[in-house]
């Protein structure tokens, strides 16, 4: 009886702790949102920051969604930009086609986001079925391969539309065989141009909150615990009856779908969408991984914060001119060492604020 009671209390405390931590996360984002809105209306925000607000949301969503795969599921994925790319092109394709039919952005954009998420999630599911039985670096390389395949295929994909419907080709515009007045929507390496600029900071923040809500709730749900059990010990998890493939697929497809959402947000922030190595190649996938690792693997709030810092940093270093990217690299290494090195951690704990306070207290008491 007594034992049960203690159990219940600790359970309640635990739930309460999670709830509190989640509320802090949402609170930080809402506070940041309000602060920036106030500053913007007061005209105190530079153009640069104004322009960065949507990208910041995009990268925060990407980091959070990748953290689901890397931190919660415990698998290394180097193809996250591939899912983002699928989402971006699916969403932009929809918007470009429907811009005439649905003139209202309020209706069109959520649909585009939904389509981007579904497409990316579907690809995540499709890739996940065969791939998730691989482990570690082998899984990493297969996801990297997937990302590169997506980029390569999109660079060769031509889609046009005329009165007879859609035409596809993998060669060039001419082979689409469009009739007079037909419109080429996806133009190979030239991508999609003229996507409506529907992304706004408010929508970005709402999407970020939804992403956080999905991921945080998943983590603290029964399913989430099953996923983490798989991460900690696959065989043990299997032996207690957890369906490994099901949960792995679940985490992987949700992560992919959320990356797709970020992709749609990205695509509707710029009027041009091309699958360059810079934005959808493995470099981008690695960059998202950097956000996750720097912020703390499995630490969702950390992902948001590090995505924001690392996206802002190169822009704020613009004053350094030629030395900008060099200093950026140095800061990245330094931050990693500071955050992850066991020695630094020891030092930090020794000289932490709390410790100092405690020491002072002790001294006072002694006196």
């Amino acid at each position: 009886m007594q034992k049960e009671k203690i159990n219940l209390i600790s359970k309640f405390k635990n739930a309460n702790k999670n709830f509190k931590s989640n509320c802090i996360t949402y609170g930080i984002i809402l506070a940041a949102f309000l602060l920036i809105q106030i500053l913007v209306s007061a005209g105190a925000v530079s153009n640069l920051i104004k322009g960065l607000l949507v990208p910041l949301c995009t990268y925060a969503i990407l980091a959070v969604s990748l953290n689901l795969t890397v931190g919660i599921l415990g698998e290394l994925s180097l193809g996250h930009a591939g899912f983002m790319c699928v989402g971006a092109f699916a969403g932009a394709f929809f918007s470009k086609c429907m811009v005439g039919a649905i003139p209202s952005a309020i209706i069109r954009f959520p649909l585009a986001i939904l389509i981007g998420a579904v497409c990316a999630g579907f690809f995540g599911f499709l890739i996940g079925i065969p791939v998730l039985r691989l482990k570690g670096d082998y899984l990493a390389i297969v996801t990297l391969a997937f990302g590169e395949i997506v980029k390569n295929i999109i660079n060769c994909l031509y889609v046009g539309r005329d009165s007879k419907g859609f035409h596809f080709s993998m060669e060039d515009t001419a082979s689409l065989g469009l009739e007079e007045g037909g419109e080429v929507i996806i133009k190979g390496a030239q991508g999609i141009t003229g996507t409506p600029n529907d992304s706004t900071f408010t929508i970005g923040i709402v999407l970020l909150l939804i992403t956080l809500f999905i991921v945080l709730n998943l983590i603290h749900s029964r399913d989430g615990r099953a996923i983490m059990a798989i991460r900690d010990n696959t065989i043990a998890a299997e032996s207690v009856g957890i369906h490994i493939t099901k949960y792995k697929l679940m985490a992987f497809s949700i992560s992919a779908a959320l990356a797709g959402v970020a992709g749609v947000l990205y695509a509707h922030n710029l009027s041009t969408l091309t699958a360059l190595p810079k934005n959808f190649g493995y470099n981008q996938s690695i960059m998202i991984l950097v956000f996750v690792v720097l912020g703390g693997i499995g630490n969702i709030r950390g992902s948001v914060i590090s995505a924001v810092i690392l996206t802002l940093l190169p822009e704020l270093l613009r004053g350094l001119k030629d030395y900008r990217m060099l200093i950026y690299a140095v800061i990245l290494i330094a931050m990693m060492l500071f955050n992850w090195s066991p020695k630094c951690r020891e030092l930090r704990e020794k000289y932490s604020f709390k410790q100092l306070l405690a020491k002072r207290k002790n001294k006072k008491e002694a006196a």
């Binding site: 890397v70 290394l76 065969p130 791939v131 039985r133 691989l134 482990k135 670096d137 082998y138 990493a140 390389i141 297969v142 990297l144 391969a145 997937f146 590169e148 395949i149 980029k151 390569n152 295929i153 660079n155 060769c156 993998m170 060669e171 010990n233 696959t234 065989i235 043990a236 032996s239 493995y282 470099n283 690695i286 991984l289 950097v290 690792v293 720097l294 693997i297 030629d322 030395y323 990217m325 060099l326 950026y328 690299a329 140095v330 990245l332 290494i333 990693m336 060492l337 955050n339 992850w340 090195s341 066991p342 020695k343 630094c344």
Partner: protein, 294 residues
């Protein structure tokens, strides 16, 4: 006839990948880390030779020697500053991220020193191409040398690791760092030696890579770095003959994909084959399949 020529082209491209993958897999197998900066060490090696030989006019042998020494020092210092403090970090991913940081650092440092312009690298291989079947088939001197160097490096690495004391220590460290330390092996210096060898191989690879494809920019290293990673995984992580075979096969698949399917989709073909192979053999061609115990 063109089939044979494509095969030769594939081997020639693959031998370059294999050469880079050998150095990569060395570090990968023993220090158990994806060294994303390996490609950039290759680039530094190539720039060293370019500066010494093409700009200052020194003989290639001197250039290569200096490049090897410089890259070895570079490798050791990168390990010391950026990787070693994180060896005991809570997650192995931490060191992967600093490796990316080092990669950016090297690229941008070289960009500042040499500028962004493409430089034409003078081949260090003085051998004329060999012509067979009335000149219908040609094998370049670079290909011959690269394949030869690959084989020599592969055999000596295998011998070194299996026969020498240091090599045995490396194997021990790769199996279990703690146990190795208990057996009196200096883990720190063993890993430093691993990086030294890996970086020296990177310098050699850089020179031959740029001799075969003579264009040099600060970003020259990033693509072969990733391809070497692919080749190493393809052949089986940590397996030295695997890296060689993986590299050669990668080159052949890429070439045949371009030749017989589509040059537009060559990347997709290469990576598609890679996925299929890994699904059939989940630990690479020559990788050990380690059964996980509870």
């Amino acid at each position: 006839m063109s089939f044979i020529q494509y095969l030769i082209n594939g081997i020639s491209l693959g031998s370059v990948y294999a050469l880079i993958a050998l150095g990569y897999t060395m570090v990968y197998g023993i220090a158990k880390m994806l060294n994303f900066a390996h490609g950039d060490v290759i680039m530094v090696g190539a720039f060293t030779v370019y500066t010494l030989c093409s700009t200052l006019g020194l003989p290639p042998a001197v250039g290569i020697l200096v490049a090897v020494v410089l890259c070895t020092c570079l490798g050791i210092s990168i390990e010391k500053v950026a990787y070693k403090p994180l060896r005991k970090a809570a997650s192995p991913l931490a060191v992967l991220i600093t490796a990316i940081g080092v990669s950016y650092l090297l690229q941008n440092a070289v960009l500042l020193i040499f500028g962004a312009d493409t430089k034409a690298f003078t081949s260090v291989v003085p051998i004329e191409p060999i012509k067979l079947a009335d000149g219908q088939i040609s094998i370049s001197g670079e290909t011959l040398v690269t394949v030869l160097v690959c084989l020599v490096i592969m055999v000596s690495l295998i011998l070194f690791i299996n026969k020498s004391k240091v090599g045995q220590a490396m194997l021990a460290v790769s199996e279990d760092k703690g146990a190795a330390q208990l057996m009196g092996i200096n883990v720190n210096s063993t890993i430093a030696i691993t990086f030294a060898i890996g970086s020296a191989l990177a310098a050699v690879a850089g020179v031959l890579y740029c001799s075969a494809y003579p264009s040099l920019t600060p970003y020259t290293g990033s693509m072969p770095g990733i391809k070497a990673f692919v080749a190493a995984v393809f052949g089986g992580i940590g397996s030295i003959p695997g890296a060689f075979i993986g590299g050669i096969l990668l080159g052949i698949i890429e070439t045949f994909g371009k030749a017989y399917i589509s040059s537009q989709l060559s990347d997709a073909i290469v990576f598609g084959v890679l996925i299929v192979v890994l699904l059939v053999k989940p630990s690479g061609l020559l990788g050990k399949n380690i059964q996980e115990k509870v």
